[in-house]
């Protein structure tokens, strides 16, 4: 049960030591400040190579931070070995020891770094196995287990140590979709029960939205935004966050603003009620579900209609911009048909075209009955 503080965390690789990398220095994580509360479930998300795994590995002690401080509670842990940090980690490929039985896999860490006697270790392993529902597998080796079972063993291995912090590096990405959804809730329940601070890395924004108390979005080694899922979705700090979160992705248009009139090069224009936007060119963002398709208009050429059963995804082009709208099943235009599009100003995002910083985000209210639940 530990809070984590990252204070200007930086990790760069000095490649002069290494043979394989041509450049001299590669910055993987740059100046990340972040406080993770005790018992919180924080998810790092971002595209591959954004530095999320590196950050996690710095927290784990598998990589040495090249700048900044990592504190667990009040203790600076930069110079502690992984074993001295009281953390446990779950890896993407589970990293179970192939030559050990499940029982040995789970007890290995306790035997190496705890002062527990063998009977104590045995009973702890049994408890954890019961908790994870793998008590029948204890004498098997990892190659006899299914992916889901291996995942449970990997989780059990980290729980048994009763660590202050759980670190999880894309633990679900090797599972098939159904199992992944199942394990997702299971991990959440487990974390709720144990109340252990958890840092979770994923490239899958749906997973991040579903699991995190808060989400930290990283790109190019820089922390973009840290906020609860809903805020990340509704009030992204910049264009990158808006584009990364949400599926299908948000639609972007380059538009010019002239006073109150917003004009897209493809031809459509919009009268703003808000007068405060001063930039003459900005990026306009509209989430697919906020786009309304109107028959008889002339804004968009439909290219593909994906019928999902409960909703339709309508793909098309507005000028040369590709656009997707998420509509009720009743809206089903034909390919090549010209349709109109419209959206509410409250659903609009605007970003500075130079820096990508958000100027305006969603202002529409969440419908009240949702809050009453």
């Amino acid at each position: 049960m530990t809070a984590i503080t990252l204070d200007g965390l930086t990790k760069s690789y000095d490649a002069t030591d290494m043979d394989d990398i041509p450049d001299n220095e590669i910055v993987a994580v740059e100046d990340v400040d972040l406080e993770i509360e005790d018992g919180e479930f924080l998810v790092f998300v971002g595209p591959s190579g954004c530095g999320k795994s590196t950050t996690l590995r710095c927290i784990a002690g598998l990589e040495d931070a090249t700048g900044g401080e990592i504190r667990f509670g009040e203790t600076v842990v930069n110079d502690l070995r992984p074993r001295d940090r009281d953390v446990a980690m779950v890896f993407q490929n589970y990293a179970l020891y192939p030559h050990m039985t499940v029982r040995k896999n789970i007890s290995f860490g306790l035997r190496l770094s705890s002062a527990l006697t063998t009977p104590e270790i045995d009973s702890r392993v049994t408890d954890v196995a019961e908790m994870m529902g793998i008590e029948d597998l204890l004498s098997k080796t990892p190659d006899e287990l299914s992916g889901g079972q291996q995942q449970r063993v990997a989780l059990g291995r980290s729980i048994v140590r009763e660590p202050g912090i759980f670190l999880m590096d894309e633990p679900l990405s090797n599972l098939d979709a159904k199992l992944r959804a199942e394990m997702r809730t299971e991990i959440q329940e487990l974390q709720n029960d144990l109340g252990v601070t958890t840092v979770y890395v994923t490239h899958d924004q749906t997973e991040a939205m579903a699991m995190g108390d808060r989400i930290a979005v990283l790109n190019d080694g820089l922390l973009q935004q840290v906020a609860p899922p809903e805020e990340i979705y509704r009030r992204p700090a910049n264009e990158f966050v808006a584009g990364f979160i949400g599926s299908p992705s948000i639609n972007f248009f380059d538009v010019s603003v002239d006073g109150q009139t917003l004009t897209a090069p493809s031809g459509f224009s919009y009268e703003l009620e808000d007068h405060s936007v001063e930039d003459d060119t900005v990026r306009l963002g509209i989430r697919p579900e906020d786009l309304t398709i109107e028959e008889g208009g002339d804004d968009m050429t439909v290219t593909v209609v994906e019928k999902m059963g409960n909703e339709n995804f309508i793909y098309g082009t507005v000028g040369d911009v590709e656009v997707v709208a998420r509509t009720p099943v009743t809206v089903r235009p034909e390919p090549d048909q010209r349709v109109g599009i419209s959206f509410a100003e409250s659903a609009m995002y605007l970003f500075e075209s130079e820096t990508g910083a958000a100027i305006k985000t969603k202002t529409d209210e969440i419908e009240p009955q949702a809050a009453q639940f």
Binding site: R81, D84, R111, L112, S113, A115, T117, T118, P119
Partner: protein
């Protein structure tokens, strides 16, 4: 019961070990620590000798002391190695001598002839066997593979002895040839046949080994290539020429390079043939000659020069084989 008693004790040992580990500093040089035993031996027994050979090739022994450092007795030869005596620098003399040394050329020629007899026969057999073992119709593949691979584990000197007994006068080889009407062959003391005997021995030993390597190469060829050719109406022989052979090229290169090195370092087989009465001049391989020069005539300097020359030859041949393919 005894195990029950042992557990607390083992636990105590474990605690002590882990406490000790905590006190040990983390070493930044862990990989070097792992590498050091290997590279210590590598440096002393491989790297130094490589350079030392080169160095020795510019010297001769001077004033052999009478005190024997070491003596061995192999058959007719009495070998005595004196204590390290003074070395005298002779510059390139050893190499000049080498250029005009007819025995050196003869032994190179012998090696080359053994190569020419051994390699085509061995590669053809190995390739043929591998093709049959790779074919879908063949049964008991595992058994055939095991049997054919067995010779590679045979002790070099011991199997040479078996071949000597089979090839000796009145031995089975003559009788088998006699049965199909061929007069007895003087396998051991006739120069031509003694060389062939050495080559045949090596074929026996290494065919299975190379077969396994070629077989692995065959199994990496994608079946879709053959299917495509079949649709195009190719015959078995066309498929072999236009698909199998080109696809096997890297594997065949490996086989040729390793075999070349193997032939050039051949020592046990000619030594056994010679010591059972084979003709020295026609059977002596280059390594055998180096051994004679160094350990019978005690000319370590000249022997080193021969070694350097041989290494140069092997490297050149390997490079040429790589270039050609």
């Amino acid at each position: 019961m005894s195990r029950q008693l042992l557990v607390p004790l083992l636990d105590q040992v474990r605690f002590k070990r882990e406490q000790l580990k905590d006190r040990l500093p983390t070493l930044p040089g862990t990989p070097l620590l792992f590498l050091s035993p290997f590279f210590l031996l590598f440096g002393v027994f491989l790297a130094i000798p490589v350079f030392y050979t080169f160095y020795l090739s510019f010297f001769t022994f001077q004033g052999v002391s009478t005190e024997a450092l070491f003596a061995i007795d192999v058959g007719a030869y009495q070998i005595m190695i004196p204590e390290m005596a003074n070395l005298q620098y002779v510059g390139l003399d050893n190499y000049r001598r080498l250029l005009t040394d007819s025995v050196f050329y003869q032994s190179l020629l012998n090696t080359a002839i053994i190569f020419v007899v051994q390699v085509p026969l061995m590669v053809a057999l190995a390739l043929g066997l591998a093709l049959v073992l790779n074919a879908a119709y063949t049964r008991y593949k595992g058994i055939f593979r095991s049997l054919l691979l067995l010779p590679v584990s045979a002790n070099t000197v011991a199997y040479s002895a078996v071949f000597i007994v089979i090839a000796a006068e009145g031995g089975l080889a003559d009788i088998a040839l006699g049965a199909i009407g061929i007069p007895p062959i003087d396998w051991i003391s006739d120069g031509f046949w003694a060389r062939n005997l050495v080559a045949f021995m090596s074929v026996w030993r290494w065919t299975g080994y190379n077969m396994i390597i070629i077989l692995a190469g065959l199994q990496t060829i994608s079946p879709s290539l053959y299917e495509a050719a079949e649709i195009g109406g190719a015959t078995k022989i066309q498929k072999f020429r236009h698909i199998t052979l080109p696809q096997l090229k890297p594997i065949m290169l490996f086989v040729f390079v390793t075999t070349t090195i193997g032939v050039f370092k051949k020592f046990a087989e000619p030594m056994i043939v010679i010591s059972s009465g084979g003709p020295l001049n026609e059977t002596r391989t280059i390594v055998y000659y180096i051994w004679q020069v160094a350990f019978q005539n005690l000319e370590l300097g000249y022997g080193s020069a021969l070694t350097v020359a041989l290494v140069a030859i092997i490297m050149t041949l390997s490079l040429i084989q790589f270039k050609v393919s």
